[in-house]
Each structure stands twice: as C-alpha cells, then as structure tokens.
Subunit: 144 residues, 3 copies
C-alpha cells in the first residue's frame, strides 16, 4: 500500500468564499503514483468545509445566501437576540461552525486508473466561512 | 490490496425519490472478494445524494417535506421572489444542489468478514432531487 | 494491509448530548499498529451522528438550539401540527433522524505516522439525538 500526504494552504482575504481545489488534488494524486485507491480531502479547521458540487458562480451565490439564512452571522453572544454562546469565548465565528456542518468537513473520492473517478460535473471546493487568516486542507491518498 | 469498481444506473421517473440500494452494494461487495476494507458509495451527479438511514416510508415523506422547507423548489432565478441565481443557466434545479448538501454526497462503510459492517437499521439510499434522466452512483471497494 | 475494528458503546441518560470520543479513537488506533492509512468512525444507529468540530461547551449549546430550530422535536405524527409521519410507527424520534442528517453519520480521518492527522482544534464527537438506550459507534482502521 502506498500513501501520500499533502497540505494545501489558503489565506482568503474575505470572511467567506468558495475555491475550486480540484487541480491541486489532481496534482497531489499525480505525485502519489497511486492508480487504485481512495483520496481523503478534509478541512483541517472547524470553520471551513470541503465539498463537491458545481463550479457555477450563480450557484455559489445561492449557497452563500442559503447558508446565511440557515445560520446567520451574528457577532453577539446572546441567543435571545440572534447571537451565539460560542462567541462568549471572544470569537465572532459561531455561525461558521454551523455553516460548516451543512456543507461538510470532507470528501472521499475514488481513484481509478490513476485519476479522480468523477461524474461529469463533480469538482472539489474549499468552503471558507471565517477567512482572513492562514488555514489548511489535508489531502491523504492511499492505494496502490 | 484489491480494488473493485461498479456503477449503479438510475432513471427515476419523478423529480425526487429515495431508493434503497443496499442489495446492489452488497452484490458489488460479493463480486469484489474483499473481506476487510472500506466501501465508498457516492452520487456521481451533484443534484443527488447517497446516505444511510432507515427504510421507513413515513420517514422518507418527512425528509421530503423537511428538505422542501429548508430549500424550496423554485424554477425562477430572482432571489427576491424565492428563485435561485443558478437557474439563470437555464436549469430549474438549484434547489436540488442545496438539498443534496443536507443529505450528503457519499457514505463510507466498513467491510468486516466480507460483509457491510452495519448497525441494526442502517440501509444505503440513493436520494434523487432532479430525476427524469439517467444518473449514476459509484461503488468503489478497497481492501483485502 | 492491516485492519482493526472496535466498537464504542454509549448509554446517554438524556435524549440529546455531545460526547468527545477522540481519546477512544486514539486508543483504537494505537491498538491497531497502523502507521499510514484511514480511520472510519461512524454511528451504527440512525438517530446519532459522528462529527468533527470544537470541544467548546457554548458551541455545543448553539448546536443544540440551532438543530432544534431546523428540525424541532415533536412526538406527534400529524405533519399539519408539526409532527412527523415516522412517529406513526410508534416512535417519537423522527426529529433525531433529521438532526443526524445535518450533523452527519461518519468521519474519515487520515492516519500519518501512527497518529490522527488533525488540524489544531479538530476533535471527534458522538452526537446523540435519541438517547436513554445502549447504542454503538464503529471504529474501522485500515492501512499499514
């Protein structure tokens, strides 16, 4: 069994963004030499996501709006006025911990014949919900 | 390390449905000869899900109603009236891209002694949110 | 390829709770002798979750409140008054089946150098949404 590990680093200049990281995952797979196996791609931070969906800017705006409706940003810490207890720690990112649960921490992708075994529109995204600092994604490849 | 790959094809005659695919995944596992390892089962399309839950029709109706509340179908493209920017591409399926994020793209299941290592009620479902066309699920099995 | 399997058992005395199971997963990894590979940790029951986030009590209260808003507990079975069809089976736990879809069934974690390959704040939690009975989590480790 072979294994290969790579970190992808980000410093998104905004609070929230979606970044297509498929080329970086493909590059890591090529470096690994793995032809058959699995790739795990996960956010190493708990206010960010890795997910698979469409590389379509309108959809990304829909996600942004939808997530804001389901888990609104609020820097306050009083739940009665829409704040979050987590923000009593001095953070203002509780909403990011919630948004990340909707979009997910990780994806596992099959490797077949040395390539990501994808359907026609599948692309891997980093979802940042509390940016403006350096954060990482882990790519771990196991197989033969 | 052994690996085995199988595609499951669907053409659901409705927009939305849940289909128990556990027997097909078990058949793929038997074909693989893998006794210890992992099975990845993922939707290859980005408006569909693979998830594990209960094979109970009432629950599936609850999911349908709940998802419709969290991410309502709307063929329009004006967010101010409940539409989605994604639908400006000519699609009417933006809600399906959202519903799929709640229900998930994939499951990873342990293989132990040649069988899916399941709790008492776990069953694998294909969740279709934009049907009426041919779509696929990937089953990838790795192990020994 | 090595593989190792362990069950973690819980009997949460409340309906809902979050339990940090990182130490138990680390213990299972040490027992396995695996240095490079993947760990799958999944709820074996369909009204519970395994997820990775922050070990911060305020955040857990935020999750509890947020999930209750997205999928409220209701023992009834009439959807028109907030109940769930699933409860017609005699259960009162339909909301738990919904909450678990938001928080997820499983996590897959990379193993590097014999350790869980985690970012600075990642911790693994068991999320119970229908407790007061014995339930299990599966830890399956594959690698070398």
């Amino acid at each position: 069994m072979k294994s290969h590990r790579k970190e992808l680093w980000f410093e998104i200049p905004f609070r929230r963004a979606f970044v297509n990281i498929t080329p970086q995952v493909e590059a890591a797979l090529a470096e690994s030499g793995v032809r058959e196996g699995l790739v795990l791609v996960n956010a190493m931070h708990i206010t960010a996501s890795v997910f698979i969906n469409d590389d379509e800017p309108g959809l990304h705006q829909d996600y942004e709006r939808w997530l804001e409706g389901l888990a609104p940003f609020n820097a306050g810490s009083d739940p009665e006025s829409g704040g979050y207890r987590h923000n009593r720690t001095g953070e203002d990112n509780a909403d990011a911990h919630l948004k990340r649960q909707i979009m997910g921490r990780e994806v596992v992708v099959a490797v077949t014949g040395g390539e990501l075994d994808f359907g026609p529109w599948e692309q891997i995204f980093y979802g940042e919900f509390d940016g403006r600092r350096r954060k990482r994604v882990l790519v771990k490849i196991v197989g033969e």
